[in-house]
């Protein structure tokens, strides 16, 4: 048999095996699927019939409406997971109203919105300004090209948000990967695999890649709350416990300017140790939080630490 025929047969076989493999695993995590399957099997015929009808009706909806329902569901799950449970005596709907009311109150505080202001409009306006600032910051720091920035800015608002979230996810994962790499290096782990091969991706990154952008931001907000910020600088900050607790609260509630103000003296010291010019340090510490992280990531990757000596910083001074 000729080599091309063998290769074609091999490819067909792999394709067939692939279909078998794909068919074996549902899109959902198998353990979670099993839990739901048991619930389904425990239902009587009437309940199952009702769900079949709901599924048929759901599939008949326009795609935008189905997407909106899925987003609501994802947000609902996050709210239930992250907010303190209310008293057991209330119904699920009552508990939900309490959680969402608190969520809206925090948003109003963040926006400094008047009590009777239309929060929906304020949020849309703020989102647009933040997304545009995000794209401009990325272009200025070289993370995206000017052409890409122009393309994204020209998109209709909803599409711009969707694509910006994807860019944000990519950027956040890269920042976290830098932090993990710096941590591994500091712990004495080898820089690469055997014979200089690529290091396998950490399990934390693999798990995060599978999540949607909002989930990734949520998870990394928790990581920032522990570390103060992401990137190589996180490992270099040695903050007292009380300050860390304040930072965590500020990060979780979105008061990022406070985070910058509190971190500034420590960051200035870290940068000075690495020979960064005072003017660059000053301009870096004036940046908004997200941009500050980007700049620090670039500066610390470019600058090796100064050799240890009498000028080394005494940790007790931090």
């Amino acid at each position: 048999m000729s080599v091309p025929r063998l290769a074609a047969l091999g490819a067909l076989a792999m394709l067939a095996l692939g279909f078998v493999w794909i068919d074996r695993f549902p899109a959902l995590d198998p353990v979670e699927f099993q839990v739901r399957l048991e619930r389904w099997r425990a239902m009587d015929d009437a309940e199952q019939r009702s769900l079949r009808q709901r599924w048929t009706a759901f599939q008949a909806l326009p795609e935008e409406r189905r997407d909106a329902l899925r987003r609501r569901k994802a947000t609902l799950d996050r709210l239930r997971r992250r907010h303190a449970p209310v008293a057991a005596a209330v119904t699920e709907r009552e508990a939900l109203e309490v959680v969402m009311g608190e969520f809206e109150r925090q948003a109003r505080e963040l926006l400094a919105a008047e009590a009777d202001a239309d929060v929906h409009q304020e949020v849309k306006l703020q989102t647009q300004r933040r997304v545009d600032a995000f794209l401009e910051n990325l272009a200025r720091s070289g993370h995206i090209s000017l052409d890409e920035r122009r393309r994204l800015t020209a998109l209709p608002f909803d599409q711009r948000v969707v694509e910006s979230l994807l860019v944000l996810k990519r950027e956040q994962l890269a920042l976290y990967a830098d932090y993990l790499a710096a941590n591994a290096g500091a712990a004495g782990a080898p820089a690469g695999g055997e014979a200089g091969g690529a290091r396998p991706e950490p399990a934390e990154l693999v798990e995060l890649r599978a999540l949607d952008p909002i989930e990734v931001v949520d998870e990394l907000r928790d990581v920032r709350a522990e570390l103060g910020l992401l990137g190589p600088a996180a490992r270099l900050l040695q903050l007292p416990a009380g300050r860390r607790a304040q930072l965590a609260e500020a990060i979780r509630s979105g008061h990022t300017q406070r985070v910058v103000d509190w971190l500034a003296p420590h960051l200035a010291e870290v940068l000075a140790e690495r020979g960064v010019e005072p003017a660059v340090i000053d301009s870096t510490l004036e940046l908004p939080f997200a941009d500050l992280e980007r700049r620090l990531d670039r500066l610390l990757r470019q600058r090796a630490p100064a050799p240890a000596g009498p000028t080394g910083v005494d940790p007790a001074r931090r």
Binding site: A68, E104, A133, I214, F289
Partner: protein, 175 residues
């Protein structure tokens, strides 16, 4: 055509074609006789024919009794036997390919069967495609009423989450 001592015999392209057609048995008897007369009188052409015969010997087992047409006592016998050898060789090749294909298919079947039998059947294997979709989306379907009743608040929550995702892109004073 002048031939060089150190190169193989060279014929004009037309002559080579004629020789090949003769060796393939595709010439009419009158034309074949003309080629045989030519081979008898042209050492270069005869040398080339010998080269082709040696090549066919490598492809199949050409018995010793098969020799140049003049020694064998007839070009017909040489041509017939050579072509038969070539035909038998071509018939063997597809059969060999079919055997290889069958062996490979059998091996793949064994691998896939062992793979499929290795583990217990998956729990979703007995569900219809619709049931599988319903089970995957069970939480969503059970929450549809809630998602509709609290739609406005949840949409606001979705928007707030998106807004918060871009925390820190603007200095707080610039908001």
């Amino acid at each position: 055509m002048t031939e060089s001592r150190n190169t193989e015999p060279r014929l004009a392209e037309y002559e080579q074609l004629r020789l090949m057609e003769y060796l393939d048995g595709r010439l009419a008897p009158v034309e074949a006789a003309a080629v045989e007369r030519w081979l008898a009188g042209d050492p270069a052409a005869r040398r080339l024919a010998d080269e082709h015969r040696r090549t066919w010997e490598l492809l199949g087992e050409l018995p010793e009794e098969l020799q140049a047409p003049s020694e064998a006592g007839g070009s017909d016998a040489f041509r017939h036997t050579t072509l038969e050898r070539v035909r038998r060789d071509l018939r063997r090749r597809p059969a060999a390919a079919r055997r290889s294909l069958a062996l490979l298919a059998a091996a793949l079947l064994v691998v896939v069967t062992l793979f499929a039998l290795q583990e217990e059947p998956a729990p979703w294997a007995r569900l219809s495609a619709e049931e599988r979709d319903i089970v995957q989306n069970l939480d969503l379907l059970e929450s549809l009423d809630l998602l509709d009743d609290y739609g406005r608040q949840l949409d606001l929550a979705v928007d707030i989450e998106i807004m918060r995702a871009f925390d820190g892109e603007l200095a707080e004073g610039a908001r």
